[in-house]
């Protein structure tokens, strides 16, 4: 394909039709359209639902809208967020997309540092897949926030808050990863060679800081003991992200490189890494739940979450993949293990977010769970299913990742195996 060279990078001369109307892009548009329906639903609930205050009720008691809103307040549920479970599937999706994407990028940096040349050859594609997932996570979290007030992140920052730290983190992390990708793609080989080692070391440092901040975000919630008592949360996030990241790399390698001669050796390396980190994650899960507060551990291991934990998370992320890859065999087994891990890891993130809220805060006096009023019952377990708008956004976020990857691949052929600088 004809190319244009810009700043040392070859850009494919691709027609707009091929760039924007390929089959993959069209299916991604469908997914994004689904997400937009979800965003509409969510914003309608957040900004335009029939909610009224006691003062409104006093000022306009006969207004028909007011009457409808009061009925809704008395007999229905109002608003988007339940006070007992503030974080929902959008946070779980954010975690999944961002941690997994960062996991891929971290793994590639590690592999390059340890001089696995085969990973170096495929690095650009892996990293673009990773950064695409990060953007999908960002898209998800953006829909969960009140964007009209976001400028206060700059005007009145709280430098110690985990959520605030996300701002400088991703303002540094994303351009940095893009620069790493640039170095992988550029023809300015001498510059890339000279910068490779310092950039690699910096990359590893930034990856570590990223997971540290993510862990801080959760562990600052002192009352949610699943998040505060899970041992070495930073490293748990890293190991679990490595497992999920290897799932992405396995599926990606199958989709993009399966007809290339390097396919078998690449898949074998992924298999070995997957085996190591699945084993480590398994150890983490065993040790972790020995230290977590018994109220949370009970709900997840023996209570209402136990089926999801064992049949969803443990079986799909750890047990079955381990069985499929423990012996060297055909690469297809690694691909199946990767697919299972992708599903299982999602369930893991979902459990982590919902599990953190599962034990109600209403056990305030140590005498049992309290009901908020005489009309409600005391709840010993909190779980509210995500609503449709949230589910549609989660589905649609996959489309966001697809669009970003596909655009960058069409322009820069990132899926090509390249000799490393």
């Amino acid at each position: 394909m004809e190319t244009i060279n810009f700043a040392g990078v070859d850009i494919n001369k691709v027609s707009l039709k091929r760039l924007l109307l390929s089959k993959t892009m069209l299916s991604a548009y469908v997914l994004v359209a689904i997400a937009l329906v979800g965003v509409y639903d969510l914003f309608h609930l957040r900004y335009f639902s029939g909610a009224v205050s006691a003062h409104d009720a006093g000022l306009n008691p006969a207004d028909p809208g007011m009457i409808a809103a009061m009925k809704q307040a008395v007999f229905g549920t109002v608003g988007e967020i339940d006070r007992t479970q503030p974080w929902t599937v959008l946070i779980a999706n954010y975690m999944y997309m961002v941690y997994t994407g960062s996991g891929v990028i971290f793994l590639v940096a590690l592999a390059e540092f340890m001089n696995f040349r085969i990973v170096g050859k495929a690095a650009a594609g892996f990293m673009v897949a990773g950064i695409s997932m990060i953007f999908a996570g960002m898209f998800t979290i953006a829909t969960d926030l009140h964007l009209l007030n976001m400028h206060y992140m700059l005007l009145t920052p709280n430098f110690n808050a985990g959520i605030w730290l996300m701002l400088p983190l991703y303002c540094t992390y994303i351009p940095f990863v893009l620069f790493e990708i640039y170095l992988l793609l550029t023809n300015k080989r001498e510059m890339a060679r000279r910068m490779a080692l310092p950039i690699l070391i910096l990359a590893l440092g930034i990856d570590l800081i990223e997971y540290y901040i993510q862990a801080k975000l959760f562990s600052m919630n002192t009352a949610r003991h699943l998040w505060t008592e899970f041992p070495a949360l930073t490293f748990y996030f890293i190991i679990s992200a490595f497992v999920a990241g290897l799932g992405v790399m396995g599926v990606y390698t199958y989709l993009v490189h399966r007809k290339k001669p390097e396919y078998h050796s690449l898949m074998d390396l992924i298999r070995k890494a997957m085996l190591t980190f699945v084993f480590l994650l398994g150890l983490y899960e065993i040790i972790g739940y020995m230290t977590v507060d018994k109220d949370w551990a009970y709900l997840i291991l023996l209570g209402p979450f136990s089926y999801v934990y064992f049949l969803g998370y443990i079986l799909l992320t750890l047990a079955l993949p381990f069985l499929f890859i423990v012996k060297p065999g055909k690469p297809i087994w690694t691909v199946i293990a990767s697919l299972l891990i992708l599903v299982g890891s999602y369930i893991g993130r979902y459990l982590f977010v919902y599990g953190g809220n599962a034990n109600p805060m209403s056990n305030r006096f140590g005498t049992g769970y309290e009901s908020y009023s005489i009309y409600s019952k005391a709840e010993s377990f909190i779980y509210n299913s995500p609503h449709l708008g949230e589910i549609l956004i989660v589905i649609g976020s996959v489309g966001v990742a697809m669009i970003i990857y596909k655009l960058l691949n069409a322009l820069f052929s990132v899926g090509k195996l390249r000799e490393h600088h």
């Binding site: 003062h55 307040a73 007030n149 959520i163 305030r364 006096f365 009901s371």
Partner: protein
């Protein structure tokens, strides 16, 4: 100034007048779970004998409030007197403060798209000297006042009664003082075995130290 509330919960008759007064005074969103203050209830049995404990509750305006620490935009902040408030214009609805609060004292106000919570009726303290919930309570459950003023009603009350805190182990130094019921049977059924019981003498130095540590932030 260090505002706090003492709750003589053995007097609560669950009339929920405090909830209504709070909604009216502060224009709180309507809805069963949209409450700044509430009367919680725990039901159970002891050797087959049923009981119900009634606990009026609200934001504890903790001295080391985790909701303030986690807020990325400083929308959650301290006001003079150690009152924890939310500036709705700065709130990005990340819900971190809801996750951080050990008492579930915060909720989303859908009429203003922000987090809402108890403010100790700070707009009426100067004029009325107390909160709407205290003013309206027919059985005098709540006593609002300044812990720094030895002549205030709350300090006088705390000097004569023993009390405990909710979830003291979270280390947030809460400022809702639950007065231990004078009726022994009620005290036994409404306080867990692991709850620490204090007198004002025990706790005063700790709260004064914390007050000194935080006072700069409270004045800002």
């Amino acid at each position: 100034m260090n505002y706090a509330i003492a709750l003589d919960y053995q007097n609560c008759i669950n009339c929920q007048a405090c909830e209504v007064a709070c909604k009216e005074e502060n224009g709180v969103q309507l809805g069963a779970k949209k409450q700044r203050i509430w009367v919680g209830m725990v039901e159970g049995t002891i050797f087959g004998k049923p009981y119900a404990n009634i606990y009026p509750s609200q934001c504890n305006h903790c001295i080391d409030a985790p909701c303030v620490t986690v807020c990325p935009t400083n929308a959650s902040h301290y006001q003079p007197g150690g009152i924890v408030k939310v500036n709705s214009k700065q709130c990005i609805l990340c819900k971190s403060c809801m996750e951080a609060c050990p008492y579930d004292a915060r909720f989303v106000d859908d009429t203003r798209v922000t987090i809402d919570k108890c403010t100790f009726c700070d707009h009426r303290i100067v004029e009325e000297g107390t909160t709407a919930c205290q003013a309206t309570c027919p059985t005098k459950v709540r006593t609002f006042g300044d812990l720094d003023d030895p002549t205030s009603d709350i300090v006088k009350l705390l000097q004569t009664r023993r009390f405990f805190f909710q979830k003291e182990y979270t280390g947030t130094l809460p400022k809702l003082f639950y007065l231990l019921p004078e009726d022994d049977a009620y005290a036994r059924q409404s306080v867990s075995a692991g709850t620490n019981i204090y007198t004002w003498k025990d706790i005063e130095p700790l709260y004064q130290q914390a007050n000194t540590r935080r006072s700069k932030e409270w004045r800002r």
